[in-house]
Amino acid sequence: MGTPDEAQLDRTLVPGTAPELDRTRQLDRTLVPGDEIRLEAPAGTGDLTPELLERPVWTDAMVAAAGIPIMDVPLVTVGGGIGSFVTVDYLRIAGVPASRIRVLSNIDFPWKTYEYLTRVSQIPDEARIRSDSSSRPDNIWGFPSYALTEAWREKSLGHLAHVLGEPIFADYWTPRRSTVFGSMARESRRIGYDGMLVKGVVRMVRRRFGGDYFTILTPPEGTSPTKRVAYRSRFVHLAVGYPGLRYLPDLQDFRERYADYEHVVNAYEPHEHVYETLKARAGTVVLRGGGIVASRVLQRLFDDRERYRLPTNIVHIFRTYVDGAHGPNPWMRRKGDHGWAYQGFNYPKSVWGGQLKAQMRKLDGDERAALYKLMGGTNTPRRRRWQQQMRDGRKGGYYRDMQGVVDKVEPADGGGVVSFVTGNAGHEEIRSDFIIDCTGLEADISQHRVLADLLQHTGAYRNPLGRLEVERHFEVKGTANGDGALYASGATTLGGYFPGVDTFLGLQIAAQEIADDLARRGWCKKLGPARSTSQWLKWCFNRPV
């Protein structure tokens, strides 16, 4: 039986239920599994056609008719950030050849986006990021830990003593930004990451009639004879990161109305001019947000004040003002004061393997949402240096924290901006030279083109927190097709059975679950104790997998 006509297809199209249409795929499989095969594409524009845009399930003939070349590879990972990297790393260590994986990405190396975001949010190269010593994206075992590596490199036991004393006698030990990126670069070379990388922007993922998926890539201009290339694969992994930033409504309104992008800035966008201006003349900064980025920006302002003897004043507005330990009972109480909620890392540590991970894994719907609410909320680590700087600031009268909701922001006479605030203490108008938005609000997942398409056409749906609902093994619910599967990890899946998704360790946990699921499906071998140990030795000696 050949390809049915379109009318027939329209009536009978059920994903994964038409083995008679699977001839091309079977043929491909009997050739060289894992190798890319460029099919001859008939005449066409090489771009998406209205038919392809509309149909949730595509046949090979439809793609070929559009003139889009098809590349065959068993697994593609979309994103190419740290989420893709740790997943590929795990699979490579489990024994999957590089030829069976392609990373579709518009960035040159996995930590590029992270590097940018950490730099603009005030973490210099030698500063330390908020991550645990054993959360190593370059090392699936978490051993040796970063602390052990830094201790070895610097021939100093100080790092180990620090880890031993945390968090009782010292702040949590955290790795240097440069250590994290350097070790990822090493691992990237070791597993042959660059050979798997295909540059381009992914436009969509659609189900293929009879099984598999099509992932449509738009390669960089001039690198491909056609505008689009289709990757036909049995498995797709999505690790597309944060869909984007969302600005606080009043700040968005101000920026749009007055076209002023100088006085109101987001901490995740370049805003060095704020610090430079404050070095040139005295000024006041309004800071908004209670997370780690607010802490970083605050430290930068305090550091500059001290280093350059600046008279900078800071007004810190918390919408949710935490004034003490909070939680429903003595067994679930988080520390806090002066507006901040304190926590070592993004989530309580046990979400990455302990009690809270086990607890959340069993919950669905409202119960899951309730536990997320309990352990969630904006928070920051209680670091000794930051505490001292804030104490000094309060004592010196140049740092003020307050509860408040900003109703609107307007330009001030003579320059600067005025924030109209309603708080516990009533109405207040705060004049400042700059407003730094550190709230880090994230846009809805539908702002991401690939995710929006997935929600609309491929059967994916939202979890209780509005992100993509995934199984415990990170398969996106509702998207199965034949014997293939579509997985997602990272921020996209926050709100699932595992809470710490948007962290190094969370990405590794997802990678492990995905690799184990692929092994269950017979696609790769499960990484057992013997191979794990032999591969660890290879990692230690920087030998290829």
Binding site: G142, S145, G327, P330, S350, G353, L527, T533
Partner: protein
Amino acid sequence: MVPTLLGRIQTRIFLLATVGSALTALITPVLPIPGPLGPAYRTTFIILAAVLVLGIGWELVYHLLMQWRWEKDWPTLFGLVTAVPEGALVWLLLSAHAVPGLHATPPFGAFLADFAVVWIGVWLVANGPMRVPFLRWRFHGGRLA
């Protein structure tokens, strides 16, 4: 570590049975225990068994204490300093001849060296090398099965 109760118990049994046994076998000949080596081994392995059995009770206590921690974690240091109450309890029971199978109390120095070597060895393995062969262990709250 971020253990679950089951993970705590499984890890303790596994590590004492493997790392603990190996270290006990290695250190016993050099311990200042009077008499031939056979009875000395009997003494040290019974002590190891006592640490294991009592330890299951201790893990219940630790699990309860951990509930007051927001993070529901068990810092590395806790894993080391809990040697003090656990070691003290075993020594008290040894002194009171309350450990089944042992009628004579070993010299305190021998007990201390034996207990410390096993404890530190197990603690070191639990804080790193354990993850090499068992790479799912740390994500499963310390469960091995």
